[in-house]
């Protein structure tokens, strides 16, 4: 009893000490010791003859298996190389990568998300320029203008695109038939709202489109605005927003209408499957007609309903659009860490990964359509590519939208978009309120980037 009281009174005294300590340090002191270099060399030295490379990526089962198989092939060919596979998850992947880059503990080879790479490149000199190693890495398999557009920053090839991909609308043919949806018709924003609302009224169990609040940013909000304005969400070169308040309100109102009319499943229900919409039981039960997904991960959606035939249809295109808004892209990049102790070995492995025919036929389309002409031809000859993936990329090849990867897709701006969409989805703000708030936050963000 007494002991407890004493502890309590000591605690009190402690609290007061803490306050007084705080008081002592209140003067603004310019810290000098906080200026530190982040250059921590990787401590894993060449131990003996074995060289260990760390290779980090994320992906589903198919991608993991194929990538591990390529690693094993390479290790068999090069017994002195050991490649540690660091398979991570999509969720929190970008956070992990940015932390590791910041503190110098990054793996030698990293698969990078397209969204976040420009941000990393602008923050520091983290990645190897593949053009500096022409003897080790053969870039001839890539089409020049493809790697110029994807992976080249200021004339340096800092990242290698892992494939040719696009955003895709996957259709469940059985559900479409059951609900009388014509899959040959070009979807427009208006038709999506109209058909979706009708579908849900007639078949209350069914929904038109399987989405989550993050997908909505990339597949609806931004393309909608791009078709309206012909510009990126944020115009990086001028550091300004590519839309007006009214245009943003319109796009948000559209999302709200879709939720209100049952085009999308209510956010309360789909929240649990955020980031993994293919695990939504309604999708598995065939209660969605369409789902959005990148061409690189179409298999996630189709594998979840193995007995049903799936196809892809063109992305929504407004009749009066400035441009198509959607575009062909690369699903991810591969980068080699500049601080790696074994830069050359890492590059050699990537050369195998991209240019060796065994690797190419093993990897097939696990990262969408292969990026090199050699791999495409080879896989095509052997019939290794999934026809839905090919179809999706073909559909996107004709679209003339422009990529918006950059400030728009930096972690912070992405979060602003997501919050905006969520507050609409949950009916917590009106489109006007959400737009005003987001514009304020983005303005603020743009004022801090240099």
């Amino acid at each position: 009893m007494k002991k407890m009281m004493k502890a309590a009174s000591l605690l009190m005294a402690g609290a007061l000490t803490a306050v007084s300590l705080a008081g002592c340090t209140n003067e603004p002191v310019q810290s000098t010791d906080s200026v530190g270099s982040n250059q921590q060399g990787n401590s894993s030295a060449n131990s003996g003859d074995t060289i260990t490379l760390r290779f980090m990526w994320w992906g589903g089962d198919d991608r993991n298996e194929a990538t591990l198989a390529v690693i094993n092939q390479y290790q068999e060919l090069h017994p002195n190389i050991r490649i540690e596979a660091e398979m991570n998850s999509d969720q929190g992947y970008v956070d992990k990568v940015s932390t590791m880059l910041a503190n110098g503990t990054a793996p030698d080879i990293i698969q990078q998300n397209v969204d976040s790479l420009p941000d990393f490149v602008s923050r520091g000199d983290f990645f190897v320029d593949f053009y500096e190693y022409p003897d080790l890495f053969d870039t001839s398999g890539f089409e020049k203008n493809f790697i110029d557009q994807f992976g080249t920053f200021d004339g340096k090839l800092l990242a290698l695109p892992t494939g040719m991909s696009c955003l895709a609308t996957v259709a469940n043919t059985e559900a479409a038939e059951a609900c009388g949806i014509d899959l040959t018709k070009q979807i427009t924003w208006d038709s999506m709202l109209e058909d979706g609302a009708k579908l849900h009224t007639e078949n209350p169990d069914f929904y038109y489109m399987n989405v989550d609040t993050k997908i909505l940013c990339e597949y609806v909000l931004r393309p909608y605005l791009r078709q309206l304005t012909g510009e990126s969400f944020i115009v990086d070169s001028e550091k300004r927003m590519g839309f007006t308040r009214d245009q943003l309100v319109e796009a948000l109102q559209y999302i709200k209408d879709c939720y209100d009319n049952g085009v999308f499943e209510p956010a309360e229900d789909s929240a649990t499957f955020k980031g993994q919409i293919h695990t939504n039981p309604k999708w598995m039960d065939g209660k969605f007609v369409f789902a959005y997904g990148p061409s690189s991960s179409i298999s996630l959606l189709t594998n979840a309903i193995p007995d049903t035939e799936c196809t892809v249809v063109q992305m929504p295109l407004a009749d009066n659009r400035v441009n198509d808004g959607y575009f062909a892209d690369t699903p991810q990049y591969m980068t080699v860490n500049k601080d790696s102790e074994n830069v050359e070995e890492a590059i050699k492995f990537l050369d195998y990964f991209y240019n060796n025919s065994d690797a190419q036929t093993t990897l097939k389309d696990v990262r969408s359509i292969p990026p090199t002409t050699t791999a495409r031809n080879l896989c095509d000859e052997e019939g290794l590519l999934d026809s839905t993936v090919v179809e999706a990329v073909n559909l996107a090849a004709n679209l003339n939208g422009k990529s918006d990867k950059g400030y728009t897709t930096s972690a912070e701006v992405y979060a602003i978009q997501e919050d905006m969409v969520e507050s609409i989805a949950y009916g917590q703000s009106t489109p006007e309120e959400a737009a005003d708030n987001a514009i304020e936050l983005i303005t603020d963000y743009l004022s801090t980037v240099n």
Binding site: L10, Q40, Q276
Partner: protein
């Protein structure tokens, strides 16, 4: 008399029912290891349809490079040295506080108590930056170093309280007999301190084992992941989560704690009772 027996009987039944409710999630977790996803979701049945150990085997193997064997080894490599270092440093510091009346002892002890209240959240960023400068990130040094220098005021406090409860004559007479202070500590006080050491050790083991906030920030390489990070990774690394495997590994990851607890519950309870730890 009869009435009393009935009342006791009712008490037992109520305690039993409430106990089952308390433990129900854990019991459910055990059975979930043998279920398919379809049985786990949308079903009320507690018992699984089959008793295949597949989930344990597949879950243990994982789809990645490392099996749970590696994660278990990592966890032990992280937790055991951290615990031992904590015990060594905290007990000697507690000895310094409890048995020597050097000037400033009381003030320093007050500061120690004050740090009990210091939220981890406030120091995590500068610590991270400090560890970064020292090149310790992504290594277990981030846990060993604070443990080695007694940065767990809870345990120091607990052991000081315990030492104060031991008669001073014990070590003072040994001191008179020519033992040095350190010898006194090792030979006389340390054996007596055993219950407190056990309690502190158990809690430090438990906390480090369960810790997610710090490991998540400090440890980056999958090859160094302890169980907590491996589990977190398991829920989103594969495309179609086999929940029975996740549940199986979650269960396996806490089994050592449960065994430890049942074999040493006396010390747990004592530890909480004497210092009011959050447990």
């Amino acid at each position: 008399m009869k009435k009393k027996e009935i009342r006791i009987g009712i008490t037992y039944i109520l305690l039993g029912i409430f106990g089952i409710i308390m433990l129900f999630p854990v019991i459910w977790m055990f059975f979930a290891c043998f279920k398919t996803n379809n049985e786990i979701f949308g079903s009320l049945a507690l018992l699984p349809e089959g008793w295949s150990l597949d989930a344990f085997i597949q879950g243990w193997k994982t789809t990645g490079t490392y099996t749970y064997a590696q994660y278990f080894i990592n966890t032990f490599l992280l937790v055991i040295p951290t615990t031992l270092l904590t015990l060594a440093s905290c007990s000697i510091v507690a000895y310094g506080f409890a048995r020597f009346d050097f000037p400033g002892n009381q003030f320093l002890f007050m500061v120690l108590i004050a740090t009990l209240m210091l939220p981890n959240a406030i120091i995590i960023i500068p610590r991270y930056s400090l560890f970064n400068k020292l090149g310790w990130l992504d290594s277990y040094m981030t846990f060993f170093a604070p443990a080695a220098v007694g940065c767990y005021p809870f345990f120091v406090f607990m052991m000081v309280q315990f030492l104060r409860g031991l008669p001073r004559d014990l070590d003072e007479s040994a001191y008179m007999d020519g033992c040095g202070p350190f010898q006194c500590f090792v030979k006389i006080l340390l054996p007596l301190l055993k219950p407190a050491l056990f309690s502190a050790g158990l809690f430090q083991f438990l906390w480090t084992w369960n810790d997610f906030f710090n490991t998540n920030i400090y440890i980056n390489s999958v090859s160094k992941y302890p169980l907590s990070l491996a589990l977190r990774m398991s829920i989103d690394v594969t495309s179609n989560i086999q929940w029975n495997q996740v549940m199986a590994m979650a269960l396996v990851s806490v089994i050592p704690l449960i065994i430890l607890f049942f074999s040493a519950q006396k010390y747990f309870v004592e530890g909480i009772a004497t210092t009011g730890m959050k447990g």
